[in-house]
């Protein structure tokens, strides 16, 4: 027998309910002007929470070995590196133009 963790149907249903509630709230909040970039931040925060619920429970990572955690973490940490380091260029070009470009 493998070290498989069997999750109860009730718990799966709870996660499903939470995911549905978050989906409806992200669609609802989209109609409210929160000002500035807050709409984007809230939408992304909800998406990240939903993704974490899927990864931890539907994908059983919560009950997996530490080595699995490393593999999963490396995959998603990589996209943070990709986005953050790349965006340091386009997001800071204005800084140069205002000081040098005139």
């Amino acid at each position: 027998m493998n070290s498989q963790h069997v999750i109860s149907i009730r718990f799966y249903a709870t996660i499903f309910g939470a995911l549905l509630a978050l989906t409806l709230s992200t669609a609802g909040v989209a109609f409210i002007d929160l000002g500035g970039n807050l709409n984007t931040i809230v939408a992304l925060a909800i998406a990240i929470i939903k993704a974490l619920l899927v990864i931890l429970f539907f994908m059983h990572v919560r009950y997996s070995s530490r080595l699995t955690w490393v593999f999963v973490g490396a995959g998603f940490f990589w996209i943070l590196i990709l986005l953050t380091l790349t965006m340091t260029d386009p997001l800071t070009r204005d800084w140069l133009e205002t000081t040098i470009g005139r």
Binding site: Q4, I7, A13, T23, V54, S64, I79, M87, P90
Partner: protein, 217 residues
């Protein structure tokens, strides 16, 4: 492999548990490459969206938020049925396993059906990038970029769904033939991981494509 009393493992592994762990890690490595594959598109999207925030917000309002929300719910529902399929496999419950696999298949087809009607509407509204693109706005070119990302990202996502449907069909056939047991159901688990990953991609696509400009109307 169908003999549930003795667990056969390949000779390079100490035991079936180690083989199982290796399969999971291998699948996660594959999913990490999938993160890289979709990551490039998410990066391109981020750069163009920060360059043309207003045009992206306006163009986003041309997508159907209700169909998008319904499709998100459908896909989350299919993730639930997939998780329950894996659970059935773990408990060696063959009939529920087939049932949940078929339910997942049906929900996947519903998702693609709704996606198809959305695409069809975009063709009719001349919102498909290319020669027939029509958009009454000075920032039409920037809007065309958003629709390019929309079709590229949701198209690649849909392709992954189609592959997933093929994998699920294979699982249904193999389950019917009694290929899985309580001691060997790794393929069911790994297809489950794949299906949930495709769900996660959509969880990010939905707010990033459909919900950009509703609050500005």
């Amino acid at each position: 492999m169908s003999d549930s009393t003795s667990i056969i493992h390949a000779h390079q592994f100490d035991d079936a548990a180690q083989q199982h762990e290796a399969s999971w890690l291998g699948m996660w490595v594959f999913l990490a490459t999938e993160v890289m594959f979709f990551g490039g598109m998410f990066l391109g999207y981020t750069i163009y969206r920060t360059t043309y925030p207003q045009a992206f917000a306006d163009a986003s309002n041309h997508l159907d938020i209700w169909l998008g929300t319904i499709n998100t719910a459908v896909l989350i529902g299919s993730s639930l049925t997939m998780a329950l399929a894996v659970r059935s496999a773990q408990l060696d419950a063959r009939k529920p396993l087939v049932l949940f696999l078929i339910l997942t298949l049906v929900l996947g087809v519903v998702f693609l059906g709704i996606k198809f009607t959305e695409y069809y509407a975009k063709f009719e509204e001349h919102l498909v990038p290319g020669g027939a693109f029509e958009y009454a706005d000075p920032l039409a070119h920037a809007a065309e970029i958003l629709f390019s990302f929309y079709f590229a990202m949701t198209g690649m996502h849909a392709l992954h769904m189609v592959i997933g449907l093929g994998l699920l069909t294979t699982l249904v056939v193999k389950t019917r033939r009694g290929r899985f047991s309580v001691s060997y159901n790794t393929p069911v688990e790994l297809v489950g991981l794949y299906w949930h990953f495709v769900d996660i991609v959509w969880i990010f696509l939905f707010p990033l494509l459909y919900l950009l400009g509703r609050h500005l109307r």
